[in-house]
């Protein structure tokens, strides 16, 4: 306990939860495919492709029609720069967080773009997926995206 203000005691503590979640059929298929080096999207009844896949059509709430392979290239729709990465971040060198709309998809996925600066990754930049060498069935199986020259 420390005494920073007028005799009111304070003490540091850490709270940790070791949660494990069930993925359900759609996300289970998605993460299994990631481990196997394939990217999946969900085709909605109205014909749109949702990547990463949701169990439902985000516009109508209807169940999706099925899963299918998604393109590994797409376009940045929003980006911000991480100048000093922390352990929580996807990459440990400066990078851009970006929403990436993969070709053919109607939604965008959040991931990292490896580039020298945000100037190299403005909205509209074409990027392609880079797989991690070891994959375990997590979002980190995608190492990052990188700009397409």
């Amino acid at each position: 306990m420390q005494q920073p203000i007028d005799g009111v005691l304070e003490a540091p503590y850490v709270m940790e939860y070791t949660y494990r979640r069930s993925l359900g059929p759609v996300m289970s298929a998605f993460f299994t495919a990631l481990r196997d080096g394939r990217l999946l999207g969900a085709r909605t009844a109205s014909g749109k492709l949702v990547v990463p896949p949701l169990e439902w059509d985000p516009e109508t709430g209807a169940a999706i029609a099925g899963l299918e392979p998604a393109a590994e290239e797409g376009v940045v729709t929003a980006a911000t720069w991480v100048a000093a990465p922390e352990p929580r971040h996807l990459l440990q060198e400066p990078f851009a967080y970006a929403l990436i709309q993969l070709d053919g998809a109607s939604t965008a996925m959040l991931h990292a773009v490896a580039c020298a600066s945000l100037e190299a990754c403005p909205v509209g930049t074409r990027v392609k997926l880079v797989w991690s060498e070891s994959r375990t069935g997590s979002l980190r199986d995608i190492r990052c995206f990188e700009p397409v020259n």
Binding site: D6, R21, A78, T80, Y97, T107, A108, L118
Partner: protein
């Protein structure tokens, strides 16, 4: 306009108090609640036994202790016992529940309180816990970085950094637009003056029906209507540069039905205020309505309190006779996902 969003009983905000950050930082949750509740009730001449329902709003993740509100309730004198409820949200949603409860017409008044004792070392990280745990949270992104992506999407669809800077000046977080624009980026395109300054805080409010409201308050702020709507959660499945949910909530609440003098907007990040005002304008908010004359909540942002504070300040303007119609806005969730609107009016 849906009738469900209009008060079917005469219900008014009759009392509203906030705890200053300096005072809140000295107190634990029980002491905080005791102080704020007694000021909003006893201090305003409202008898505790006329309060038929109590709702609190808070978030365990800020306090770092599961079910923290259970203990904090002691400060409201709950062992009689009392009829109460809790939302793990901003106090504005506690107000919504209390408003719905009062429409049953069987009790005179309801008490709402909320507290944001910010014990977390990194609040931006705590706020990121509200992200989808499958596709968003594993990226390690925090709340400020999410807001930066939203600001980026805004710039891509025509907004300007100058607009962000104007909001920062209005919030008292920059001395001038030029000074704001001269700041370095923290989370590009966000600068320090676009981010909230977090603080401890608490607020309490009493709402009351009809004659009882008139008997305890010279100028009750009548709740004409309330509505809250959420956009989808997935950041990549909606247009982050707009807020359809806020526009819809404002339409449901009939914001544009009459001239409004004051609007108090709760936008945790500066650029979100631009989005919020555009949505309100689309819903018919008077062009000459004063925006955040209270100074807004971003310069001393108490999470879980700021939304109720915006509505409470909109009510206080009516209590003080400074306006006859005001609009209060509260938001919740990442990237302005969830929005609540309260339309308040003076009645002679």
């Amino acid at each position: 306009m849906s009738t469900f969003n209009t008060s079917r009983e005469e219900i008014a905000i009759v009392s509203f108090v906030e705890l200053s950050p300096a005072e809140a930082s000295q107190l634990d949750e029980i002491e905080t609640i005791q102080t704020i509740v007694s000021r909003a009730t006893d201090g305003a001449g409202i008898a505790r036994d006329r309060i038929g329902f109590t709702v609190s709003g808070s978030c365990d993740m800020l306090v770092g202790r599961p079910f923290s509100w259970i203990m904090a309730m002691d400060g409201a004198g709950v062992s009689k016992p009392i009829e109460e409820s809790h939302v793990e949200m901003d106090g504005a949603w506690a107000l919504y529940e209390a408003w719905v409860r009062l429409q049953h017409g069987d009790i005179d008044a309801a008490l709402i309180y909320c507290f944001g004792a910010n014990a977390a070392e990194d609040l931006m990280q705590v706020l990121a816990l509200q992200l989808d745990p499958y596709y968003l949270a594993p990226t390690g992104i925090n709340a400020a970085e999410v807001a930066a992506l939203q600001a980026s999407a805004m710039l891509a669809s025509g907004a300007t950094e100058r607009q962000f800077a104007e909001v920062a000046v209005r919030a008292g977080l920059a001395v001038s637009v030029e000074a704001a624009l001269a700041e370095p980026y923290l989370h590009r395109p966000l600068r320090a003056s676009d981010l909230p300054r977090f603080s401890d805080g608490a607020a309490a409010m009493v709402i009351a029906r009809g004659d009882y409201a008139r008997s305890v308050c010279a100028r009750p702020a009548w709740i004409q209507s309330m509505a809250h709507i959420a956009d989808g959660h997935s950041l990549g499945a909606r247009d982050l540069s707009k807020s359809p949910s806020l526009e819809k909530a404002a339409r449901l609440a009939g914001v544009g039905a009459k001239a409004t003098q004051i609007v108090e907007v709760h936008a945790p990040f500066g650029p979100q205020e631009v989005i919020a005002l555009e949505a309100l304008k689309q819903a018919g908010l008077s062009a000459d309505a004063k925006v955040n004359p209270s100074g807004g909540t971003r310069a001393a942002q108490s999470v879980m309190v700021a939304g109720l504070a915006a509505i409470g300040r909109a009510a206080s303007a009516i209590h003080r006779g400074e306006a006859s119609r005001t609009v209060g806005h509260a938001s919740s969730g990442p990237a302005l996902q969830h929005n609540l609107i309260a339309v308040l009016e003076e009645r002679s």
